[in-house]
């Protein structure tokens, strides 16, 4: 068996049945091994598309996503995806071909120091330097990608190692002894919870990553503590949970942002006090003691100094923290805020109001629909107005905010979950950033539904230009967009354009009922903004709500 065959064999041993990638010179031996190696490979039309599809695959299933690229330009095209996975803690194993060992460091054709390039955007990067390292490195890569705080791991494999003989390797699986939980800390935390008058849960993406959704829901059921979530925490708490207020932060709900500023105990669960959440950090949750639960010790006291922290597995901790509370006044206040500040969907005129449309779509979509978004205003409207009942069903580039993420992520999610409806909600700017992936949808005949919200603008940037740059619309006007429906039809994707409210119900039904892929292109006014908005440098309770 040569090195390349060994890689395919090792992938199968890790239960990887699907990979995403793009071939080229230095990875040809691996592609040869994939030809009849028994692992499905989906050819994406750009390496960035391949890694984002792997991210969509990983996020929609909780499994490790695998992508493959060649050396040089193939590898550099992965970088944005690695960074995306790094910021959102997504388990990815990226395999790149490298020029033959004796050519490394000679500026050979398509040689780039991908290990050096990747250091800032991977959890770890390996370069295989001899045949005997191949087995242990692949083993470690999968372990690292998925353990602790997950993240992307890169394996760079020189061509001679792919072609040379592989050495036998049988992994020794050490049985992990579970952490012993610090009982004193648990008791202190419970005491803090029981004594708090206004406790609040601040739920992040870590809950979903730790597969701790059920224990969290049990904890909430018992304690009835109100909650808010981050962009990546969406789906962890059931949307219908009585004291859940939705997203917090820059475009968070009013109730969430006020609750944060009022609470006397903030319990951060798998969240990291990102600046988009905290607004002005010094004034974030000013009256609160903080309990921080996160697997990554480096997150503790990084931005907010906390009273108590635990870095154990959330699945272990949350059941131990279950307790009852008597916080009737606070709960009443939360319920009142939810009513007083509820989203409103009445909007004058015939033009389509995107928040109302997304709300309508959320009501119509089948159970377990996966929503993938791009980045911009439409992304925030999805977060604010759609409802999602599992973290795996809301796939949005949160930490990096990568335009071009939505379509390839939807490709990966649809491949992973062929029986579920997958909808990519995109903007006219973002859509064009990985538009070539329509070719992947066509190739695999994926039934991805695309909802393209077209304001003929780079809307989110336009909004900031309007608010903070005197309306000087520098390079954000996209009135020269292509005809999107024609563009989609070139990839055999049917579609239609709508612009008025009366067309919505029928068009959304056609989108959802379509057997194959479908593009619903929706023209909206360029003037729409995302509200509320915590302006830069302001505390969270100083929200702008209109122009």
């Amino acid at each position: 068996m040569n090195g390349a065959n060994f890689v395919v064999h090792a992938l199968k041993q890790h239960n990887i049945s699907q990979v995403f990638g793009y071939p080229g010179g230095a990875i040809m031996p691996l592609y040869d091994a994939l030809y009849d190696g028994g692992v499905d490979h989906l050819l994406c039309r750009h390496e960035q598309g391949a890694i984002m599809a792997a991210i969509g695959y990983a996020r929609s299933t909780g499994k490790v996503g695998v992508c493959i690229a060649t050396s040089g330009p193939g590898a550099t095209n992965l970088i944005t995806g690695l960074a995306d996975a790094m910021m959102d803690s997504i388990p990815i194993v990226a395999i790149t071909g490298q020029v033959a060992s004796h050519l490394i460091g000679t500026d050979a054709f398509q040689e780039i120091d991908v290990l050096g390039l990747s250091l800032a955007c991977t959890k770890h990067s390996f370069m295989v330097q001899s045949a005997d390292q191949l087995g242990p490195i692949i083993e470690q890569a999968f372990e690292l990608a998925s353990s602790g705080r997950p993240g992307p791991v890169l394996i760079d494999i020189p061509k001679d190692i792919q072609l040379g003989d592989a050495l036998n390797f049988s992994p020794i699986h050490a049985t992990k002894t579970p952490n012993t939980i610090n009982k004193v800390a648990i008791n202190s935390a419970r005491e803090m919870i029981e004594n708090a008058k206004k406790p609040l849960l601040y739920i992040g993406g870590g809950v979903g990553m730790a597969q701790a959704v059920e224990p969290l829901r049990q904890f909430i059921k018992k304690s009835k503590i109100p909650s808010v979530c981050t962009l990546k925490g969406i789906g962890a708490v059931k949307h219908s949970s009585p004291y859940f207020m939705g997203m917090v932060g820059m475009h968070g709900s009013k109730a969430s942002n006020f609750a944060i500023q009022e609470c006397d105990l903030l319990i951060a669960i798998g969240a990291r006090f990102d600046d988009r959440v905290t607004g002005k950090l010094d004034e974030f949750a000013p009256h609160a003691k903080v309990i921080h639960l996160d697997i990554d010790a480096a997150e503790i006291d990084k931005l907010r100094t906390v009273e108590l922290a635990m870095t154990d597995d959330l699945k272990q901790i949350l059941p131990l923290l279950e307790t009852t509370t008597s916080i009737g006044e606070w709960q009443k206040h939360i319920l009142k805020m939810k009513v007083d500040f509820a989203n409103r969907y009445d909007h004058p005129g015939d033009a389509i109001y995107a928040p109302a449309m997304l709300r309508q779509l959320a009501e119509m979509q089948p159970r377990d629909t996966v929503i993938c978004t791009d980045v911009g205003q439409h992304q925030m409207w999805v977060a604010q107005h759609m409802f999602v009942d599992r973290p795996e069903n809301h796939i949005s580039s949160s930490g990096l905010g990568t335009m071009g993420f939505g379509i390839p992520a939807a490709v990966g999610a649809q491949v992973a979950r062929p029986d579920d409806t997958v909808i990519a909600v995109s903007g006219d700017g973002s859509f064009m950033m990985n538009v070539q992936e329509l070719g992947t949808i066509k190739r695999k005949k994926l039934p991805v539904k695309i909802l393209l919200i077209d304001n003929q603008r780079l809307g989110m940037v336009r909004q900031w230009q309007k608010l903070f740059f005197d309306g000087r619309y520098s390079e954000t006007i996209l009135t020269d967009n292509p005809d999107f429906v024609t563009l989609a039809s070139a990839f055999d994707i049917p579609g239609e354009t709508i612009a008025t409210k009366s067309q919505l119900q029928g068009a959304l039904s056609r989108l959802l009922d379509s057997k194959g892929a479908y593009l619903l292109h929706v023209s909206i006014s360029e003037e729409e903004n995302v509200w509320p908005l915590v302006p830069p440098g302001a505390p969270n309770d100083k929200m702008m709500e209109s122009l």
Partner: protein, 85 residues
């Protein structure tokens, strides 16, 4: 503030590069660095003095996460003064 860090790791070619990148990115400047490979060639021993406005624990926690680093210990300048006083 200055801090002295004593670090041990596996002797791999890119460990130092990885470590120095984290030091810079997290807002610390290296003022002094000594690196030695252990007699058996397996381990790398480093002592470095770093300087920053930020708390040293912000850096040490990031360094501890680096795959291949086996030990990170600090001796802040202040602590050393106290010890010797």
């Amino acid at each position: 503030m200055k801090s002295l860090l004593i670090i041990q790791g596996d002797n791999s070619p890119e460990l130092l590069e990885r470590l120095l990148r984290v030091v810079r990115h997290r807002g610390f400047a290296v003022q002094n660095l000594n690196a030695e490979i252990s007699k058996n060639g397996q381990a790398l021993h480093l002592t470095l003095t770093v300087c920053s406005e930020r708390k040293i624990s912000l850096l040490t926690k990031q360094l501890e996460k680096i795959f291949g680093i086996t030990k990170v210990a600090t001796l802040s300048q202040e602590a050393r003064v106290k010890v010797s006083a």
